[in-house]
Symmetry: C3
Subunit: 342 residues, 3 copies
């Protein structure tokens, strides 16, 4: 990022007091601001920092009146917090879409097409017959198999593996070393105790606006598709098995695992290290507490579950409270028995 | 895949009714079949789809007699379900062994040898003095260190890391981004609170027919070998620590972790997100439920364990049932105490 | 490794009996020693192996007197066990720092500098404006983003991803496919049920002597830094979320997850598959048992926690013991109720 204070003020629709030609190269909290940084003051608890900050510029509310001299340039806007957030987003967008062009060596197979404004980093691999939208960024060392489709504005970070026939929507972000479309874990036991591989010939579909965290694995379907619906957000180190479906705008925290053929509804909130058994159907709006083990389908929307095996959140909290008093409870039973013996 | 209906019928030992020169390019469920697909009808519940499917061909039992006209070509075989499964397997095999030859740039060190029908993808790296069997497929961006041996027909997917001195058997499949032979987690505490690294100089041995899932990590032994015995199947995101042994045909589901020096027997079935403490011996045929924590060795073959810390499956189910009634149980004790006070 | 027996004796300050010109190429346990190996005898329980081992040389205590003829060369030292350990460490150091130079093709961006004795493997990628110390080893297929700093003697294994602006200390080891500095999991819920990405613009700082295991993920801070303090050791498949701090010499076992903004103190010992909620402060010297779920801050140093949700180790052991007797306890209450009815 490299802007003048004036350019930022124009972007945010604000007015400048102070040196509007200063160059801004970074964003910082007001108490940590250095020359070249821009910061903001929203909560007046932090006002004392305004008079001592090294930041070159500070965004403040239009209604704000400084009580002492300020060394930084000030940008007055309607709402300093949301203006700063907008600046963050703008900066972030610039950063992640900054790379354009093709670094060499990189590999692209026959029949594959790439849209405008794309990036293919060094050592990235794109197989045959892929259709890749515009403004797609394929970072160094990422792998895209054959017959893959990727929608506009999607970012494929370094070391991501997208296997044959997968379909990735628009505006998706796939973080480093995630694996999309690897073969599911399907083995048929044989009479001699060995296992025979059940061929996994389906794919994975990520709809639009999906995020997949670092080192997360999403297996392809046996036949048909493992589907992550639009707006779903998956954190790091998550396991999604074959034929799973994750609903729209469902959020799943790190290290959770979903077993084969389970369908999780829309707008669910799943905490970290949760496990789901296979072949379940989980209603829309279900909330699951960290480290829970969900072994049964959930029919009622908006259910809150907890514990392993999981049951109602409130009930589980009560049971867990008594669990901590168990030695005492046993003692009380022992005393009653003594009394009753007499 | 690209076959005529006739070629498929010959492969399956079946007879064709209808157009035997149609080209088949995919496999599908009967209700989802499109032109170019082949499907099958086994369970007669799905018979209505036979009269409406778009699939170019459908495999049916020899005993089956259509009740209406069928647009698709029919292939009559003894058992349509197992014929279709055979076709799936054949197709799968073709797919995964399809790649042959060397893509450039790729790296191979001095003294390394590669068998016939091999594949080394672009940006793959093979170190010095490696012996690689025939029909081995090393996908793009995979890493094979120095002095590694890999048996015939083994598939190394993109981004797999196999470190120095490891030995990989025949017919293994190692899925994307799995790490084989990284240094184990061994640190000796020093008087000043710091830790000193304990050198990890051993290797990992995968015997024949082993599967390793995506992003799974198998650490090398401190000295000697971490061993995964023949036919063992490991799912995604599993942690296998140094000096562990996993027995023949043992199956382990995703996100399970096995601590250092634990030996798991043959034909065990371990569910997902299970943890094993270190230095345990687990008898053959042990079954462990999801999210269990195994802290003690298992001596009796065929034991079923559950819960964390794990104990007998049946006993744990009973305890877990009472756990859900704990608030009620406490209330009952309270009432008894009240009564006894009088 | 390739040394003569004499060279090793000189390194260890020992005296040789036997052929001091033999070449040593490996290390082995005395019972497994082969020609070319060096072994040691410390515990006299293993003395019988000394008279049968194939090892070319064996390190023994100066006080030791063989009772039979020995075929191997003997190296007499003060303490055979610590001499062998020293040899292991020396060998290990040689191994991991053996690679020097630049393999092609590899990529390095404008303005990046690399110290002496460095290694950049084939297909490794180093972005712009990176400062890389001396004796740093960047293995094949590793990725280093823009503006990254890496201290002397640090090892970056194959497939590691270090994203923009991260700072890595001296003497760190980052194992294969670990991801450092990926964007944290921050999403703001919108009125229509979708989520908006909260830009993650901070970095990750690893101080000196930090180890990061294979496939572990450490997210960058939203602003500021996620920090792993000096001497901390992280095992495989660990999740460290944005803005977390891990204290000095803290050890964390595999598959543990730490949620956003949690600060873990110095010298803590965290077992495997543990989960920490977000925004906690964990005192120095805290110990946490495997599979525990830590939901509250810990104020007292040296606390031991266990269970999910976690509480005191001793108390949890007592509760877990009663948990196994729960069906019996319920039965006892039932009997008391029967008695009291009369």
């Amino acid at each position: 990022m490299e802007f003048t204070v004036k350019q930022i003020a124009t972007l945010l629709g604000g007015e400048v007091a102070g040196n509007e030609s200063l160059t801004i190269t970074g964003l910082a909290k007001i108490e940590e601001g250095q020359p070249g940084d821009i910061s903001f003051l929203s909560n007046l608890k932090y006002e004392p920092h305004l008079y001592t900050t090294q930041a070159s510029a500070v965004i403040v509310d239009r209604s704000f009146e400084p009580k002492k001299p300020v060394a930084s340039a000030l940008i007055f806007v309607e709402n300093s917090y949301s203006a700063f957030t907008r600046l963050l987003e703008e900066y972030h967008k610039q950063l992640i879409f900054a790379r354009v062009g093709i670094e060499q060596p990189s590999y692209i197979g026959d029949g594959s097409q790439m849209g405008e404004q794309g990036y293919r980093g060094a050592f990235s691999y794109v197989g045959r017959n892929c259709q890749i939208g515009s403004n797609v960024k394929i970072y160094p060392q990422a792998y895209v198999g054959n017959n893959v489709r990727i929608g506009d504005n999607t970012i494929i970070h370094p070391g991501v593996r997208i296997l044959d026939n997968c379909v990735i929507g628009r505006n998706c972000v796939i973080h480093p070393n995630a694996v999309i479309g690897s073969e599911g874990f399907g083995f048929a036991p044989q009479p001699d105790g060995t296992y025979k591989t059940i061929p996994q010939l389906g794919n994975v579909i990520l709809e639009d606006n999906v995020n997949v965290g670092s080192n997360t694995t999403i297996d392809c379907a046996t036949m048909g598709s493992t589907i992550i619906r639009q707006g779903a957000k998956l954190d790091n180190l998550i396991q999604i098995a074959h034929n799973v479906e994750i609903g729209k705008n469902t959020v799943i925290a790190a290290q959770t695992g979903v077993s084969g053929s389970t369908k999780i509804g829309d707008n669910c909130v799943i905490a970290g290290q949760v496990g789901f058994a296979g072949h379940l159907t989980i209603a829309n709006g279900t909330k699951v507490g960290a480290q829970s083990g969900v072994g049964k389908s959930v029919e009622e929307e908006g259910t809150s579950l907890n514990s392993s095996p999981a049951f109602g959140l409130k009930e589980s909290m009560r049971s867990l409270a008594v669990f901590r008093r168990l030695p005492d409870l046993e003692q009380r039973v022992f005393k009653l028995e003594k009394k009753n013996e007499k």
